[in-house]
Symmetry: C2
Subunit: 632 residues, 2 copies
């Protein structure tokens, strides 16, 4: 965590100074704004937190609810989400508070007496095998609280406008604020009042029954059939020994997905209520909590639960659906999008794979910086078309995975030939539910694979997978990727060739090239801004940290920034292990020892890999989406 | 973190429900209170946070300052303090925010040219070699903020009364509130008003010039000489390559202790101003910041610092002094103490060893639960005499260490024969500055060593050094010691003999004995309270977690507690490593495999070690300080 950088900070360093539109931010929803976010679910709240890092942009977020979410909805947090929380500054807190999944157990009918269940497999959770982040279970409300804090404490000081409902919108062809939005105030002095406000862009994170989706005429495509689950968050006493372990229970009497929750006592049970006929008209929702509990007890036989408190319950009906496009531009039309869909507004799927909240957050992480760059004048509008292009295939992939997983889970015992099927599928596909399978294809912000071989372990289009390195200034082992916060900046990691700091080398030549006044770094950085305001350049030497002489490191890597023009000491790293670090990032990620530049997007995806010598190619790549000489 | 235990918690689980005196706690300082804490430094604030866990007790804390501390004072946090922060629930947050010390470097005169300094040694910091907690540097103000939060969010809802000055006190021989305290309001409506309030006990954490100390006639003993330091927290640009590494710099021109601070930019420098003559009359304090900076530059030669901002500076004069006794009872007098001294009020020493704030907090951690138990009627008053008896020797030991360390550091270069002296002393004594050397002697709360051999790795009287174990209910690897929060409870760790759960064994017999109505556990637990309200019993089996059948574990270890009588699943552990844990606590701590009970105090010190068979001895030990049949 870096601070004191603009002068001494006495209080909580997580509370940043207000800047730009964050200074004197009006309490009331204004008439005009750059970005209007609809809905404060995981997608909307992440987007708000991200936009708070772009205080030049006026962002508002409206939410129908009168205040924070209190109960229910999703609770499964995949490692990719925890990685994202790290970037937003609250991973360590939510990990301390959440249930950490260590195992998933499988239960099935006892072959001796199929009316009883027995444990058929224990599987170690995949998260810590493929990531440095755990797999968590925690109330969606708490995730939203943390993002709300991040939005409120960022320079943009963004706070949701609760009790404001989206009614409809119209995109005009002209004008500075072309999106006209109708809203209704539900609370406060203005309760009941309908208003029209105007925005440059609208992001619809308004959930499965999205009004924004309807307003732009998008179609939610997918099977008509819905799957229904009885869901309950309960405090119970029980003799079921795996009450505190995640379990898939597949009994003659039905199926349960059992999920222990944060705090050591609460658990969530998903009791399968099966496919819902098209003409059911939500009759399934009438299923009472007593019925759900009775069903749970039948499935758990010979074990029983005695329910002491029902914190929340619901019948959750969901179909596999994906919206045909995630913005308001028709296929073939050439204008840039003005309205975007995120999260459940554009894809829904079962709760079984625990993906809903996670994928929704990644939608917003993908969209946020793009809106920030375009609205701040740093990037051309055409950047915005990459949002739908990148996220739609991810949603489609998710639906496919979920369909397979759900149908495996929904099998009747007599359909199961190999009881370890489920466990095998679960582990074999672990990268997917962890959130690490997403790979974006070539585009204006994703280079092709021509130099991929220079750094095999950083697949272009996948998220930058961190490794420990040693910070030269103080010898601390730190995760290179964790230094990159969700502050909207691009990262350029210069992995040095073998020569030490001070010697002539490809790295030294790269640093000179990047330091020229006409270099990419200078041209794409707005007038008057810090040299690392947009492109945050770091160097990783192959040597041990003791061998890197800070006095001989090019100034590019020790820039002086901020109002006091203070040296930033945290851009110079060493790869060779020391007493506190055990990895060599060059070896771990197959980085060519003749030197490589890895370009990483603000949402942590690897955008390009280049040899140190290819400074013109780097410049050309950056020029595809960055504007030279922006006003700043 | 356990919660939802009294029903579902939707918000931040760190904010506990108010209880007892925490419900409707008056904003104004009342006329009468159980405990009055004077001073909101590290000692006072830790005590407030601890007392917030005893909501039956009315605790107030007065502080002369008008609000929170903003700047300066101590910043070195030893691993024992981070361990303590873990118990108070904020370790992960402060670690994320602080500077983590990885190395300490030593600089001395260049033998070729003694006017210049050169690096003479790099030493790896000791913390992570002897503890799972790091060695941190962070503003004292932030430590106080975290304790303030903990006090405010605990059931007692304790908030300091800022702007109230202690003037004097008198201890009467009779009455329910025998301590009469004179205070003056400095702010608010009552500003200027002097009042008399009454307390059962007073804890003086009012710093080096303690008025409480004077009021009880205690004498601050020690050399008359003071040592003076110019201290500055500065933002600079410099070519000194170790600016972000902790360094001891020993130059011809003088000595510097250099300490990088949190946030990546700030550093603190202690510039030695030498011993102050008795007749100096604080003239040394007139040393200007310009002089201090000039001196620093002279010492750093050939490197220079260009100071961009001075966040704080001070001339800090301190002598080696210990108060003759830490309470108001004269040697030989038989009554129980009413007034206690903590922290700088009873011991001062140089800043060099970075101990001040740390030892002060441990004073308060030692005192807090004792006051809580006596005031709640759980323990006899005689318990309070152990405070001074235990902490005075610690202070004396600290002074001795500090004197040696300071004089080593203060040597002139020509006095130094072996330049690695300092580094050797520093590492050789690492357990001391880490805060782990403290060992309390036998007393009513510390058993003698007769059974020590049963668990060599848990020396009686030293703090319980945690090891990872596997939580049986969910297979998570967790630190056994970290489950024990600063909630005022005693821990009884029952390390099982070799038989598995369910089989007849010494453990099973122990559990039966402890479950009898006339057992220690029942007798010392107040009427109507949860069975683990005072004595928190946990079991550690030798087997792997998969082999421990929760259905066969004695009910003692799966108690039903809270208003809903919910099973607590987090008291049963397994020692054999699994996929996530690599230690076997029996092997790591030399625990006898025929089974052992380890008794640990609320402040985390090992109080007794017993064989499983010695239930009467255990009962007798607990009976020395716990009252049977307390009201609850
Ligand atoms: C009742 C319910 C139960 C669920 N249960 C589970 C579960 O058990 N497991 C699981 O994995 N997932 C569950 N989900 C799905 C999961 O919560 C979502 O996948 C996830 O929340 C998607 O995030 P989002 O930000 O896209 O949308 P949401 O979290 O749905 O957020 C949409 C927000 O928009 C607001 N909104 C909607 N319309 C308007 C409007 N017109 N004007 C203003 N605001 C509006 C809503 O109030 C809401 O706060 C559940 C969802 C719901 C609604
Ligand atoms: C100016 C200063 C600089 C220091 N610099 C360093 C340093 O550089 N390095 C280092 O390691 N240690 C330093 N220390 C020492 C370190 O801060 C202490 O060891 C540590 O704070 C001790 O904690 P404490 O709780 O015992 O007392 P303190 O932190 O001193 O707290 C005492 C509190 O009591 C309050 N108080 C005092 N008298 C009254 C009264 N009559 N009524 C009400 N309230 C009262 C004070 O305002 C203060 O908040 C410094 C201390 C001071 C005062």
């Amino acid at each position: 965590m870096q601070f004191h950088h603009h002068g001494y900070v006495s209080g909580d360093p997580r509370v940043r100074d207000a800047e730009g539109t964050g200074v004197d931010r009006p309490l009331d929803l204004p008439e005009e704004m750059d970005l209007l976010i609809v809905g404060s679910g995981p997608a909307g709240m992440l987007l708000a937190a991200q936009m708070s890092q772009f205080p030049a942009v006026t962002t508002r977020i409206i939410e129908r609810r009168e205040g924070r979410l209190r109960l229910g909805q999703a609770d499964g947090i995949q490692p990719r989400s925890v990685e994202t929380f790290q970037a937003f500054g609250f991973a360590e807190r939510i990990v301390a508070e959440a249930y950490n999944i260590a195992y998933m157990n499988f239960w099935g009918p006892d072959p001796q007496d199929p009316a009883r269940i027995v444990r058929t497999a224990r599987t170690e959770d995949y998260a810590l095998k493929i990531s440095e982040f755990p797999h968590l279970i925690v109330n969606q409300a708490r995730v939203l609280d943390y993002f709300a804090e991040s939005a409120r404490h960022g320079p943009g000081r963004i706070v949701p406008d609760y009790g404001v409902e989206f009614l409809g919108l119209q995109v005009h062809e002209e004008g500075e604020y072309p999106v006209e939005v109708r809203v209704r105030h539900l609370v406060g002095e203005r309760a009941g009042e309908e208003r029209t406000v105007r925005a440059k862009y609208v992001a619809g994170g308004d959930g499965a029954r999205s009004g924004v989706r309807d307003a732009i005429g998008r179609v939610h495509v997918g099977g008509a059939s819905q799957h229904a689950w009885g869901v309950m968050d309960v405090l119970v006493n029980t003799d079921f020994p795996d009450w505190r372990t995640k379990c898939a229970i597949n009994a003659r009497a039905g199926n349960i997905l059992h999920i222990p929750r944060e705090g050591g006592y609460l658990s969530r049970m998903y009791i399968d209520l099966g496919e819902v006929a098209e003409d059911d008209n939500h009759r399934v929702r009438a299923t009472s909590i007593e019925d759900i509990i009775e069903r749970a007890n039948a499935i758990l036989h010979p074990y029983t639960i005695e329910v002491k408190q029902v914190a929340w319950h619901s019948v959750y009906e969901v179909g596999h659906r994906v919206t045909d496009k995630f913005d308001d531009v028709a296929e073939g039309e050439s204008r840039s999008p003005r309205v975007f869909l995120m999260g459940d507004a554009c894809h829904t799927h079962s709760a079984k794979a625990g993906q809903g909240m996670n994928v929704s957050m990644q939608d917003a992480f993908n969209l946020g910086w793009k809106l920030g760059y375009v609205l701040a004048g740093l990037s051309p509008e055409s950047l915005l078309a990459t949002y739908s292009a990148e996220r739609l295939p991810v949603a489609q992939q998710l639906i496919d995975f979920d369909r397979e997983w759900s149908s495996l889970m929904a099998r009747k015992p007599e359909e199961i030939t190999d009881p370890s099927d489920l466990a095998t599928f679960y582990l074999g596909t672990a990268e997917f539910p962890s959130g690490f399978m997403t790979q974006y294809g070539p585009s204006m912000i994703e280079a092709d694979g021509r130099h991929q071989a220079l750094a095999d372990g950083f697949p272009i289009g996948k998220r930058f997978k961190s490794v420990q390195v040693v910070r030269v200034c103080d010898g601390n082992a730190i995760h290179l990727g964790h230094h990159a916060r969700a502050d909207g900046r691009w990262r350029l990691y210069a992995f040095a060739d073998a020569a030490p700091a001070g010697a002539e080398s490809a790295l030294a030549a790269w640093a000179r090239a990047m330091s020229r006044p006409e270099s990419a770094l200078r041209r794409f950085t707005p007038q008057g801004a810090d040299v690392d305001a947009i492109l945050d350049v770091k160097v990783i030497y192959q040597q041990g940290y003791e061998e890197v002489d800070l006095g001989a490191v090019p100034e590019l890597f020790l820039p002086r920034t901020g109002p006091l023009a203070l040296t930033d000491w945290e851009k110079v790293y060493a790869a060779a292990p020391n007493a506190w670090s055990h990895a060599d990032i060059f070896a771990e990620r197959g980085i060519d020892r003749s030197g490589v530049v890895v370009v990483v997007r603000p949402d942590q995806y690897v955008a390009a890999i280049l040899p140190l010598t290819a400074t013109e190619e780097l410049e050309a790549f950056l020029g595809q989406f960055l504007r030279a000489g922006a006003a700043g």
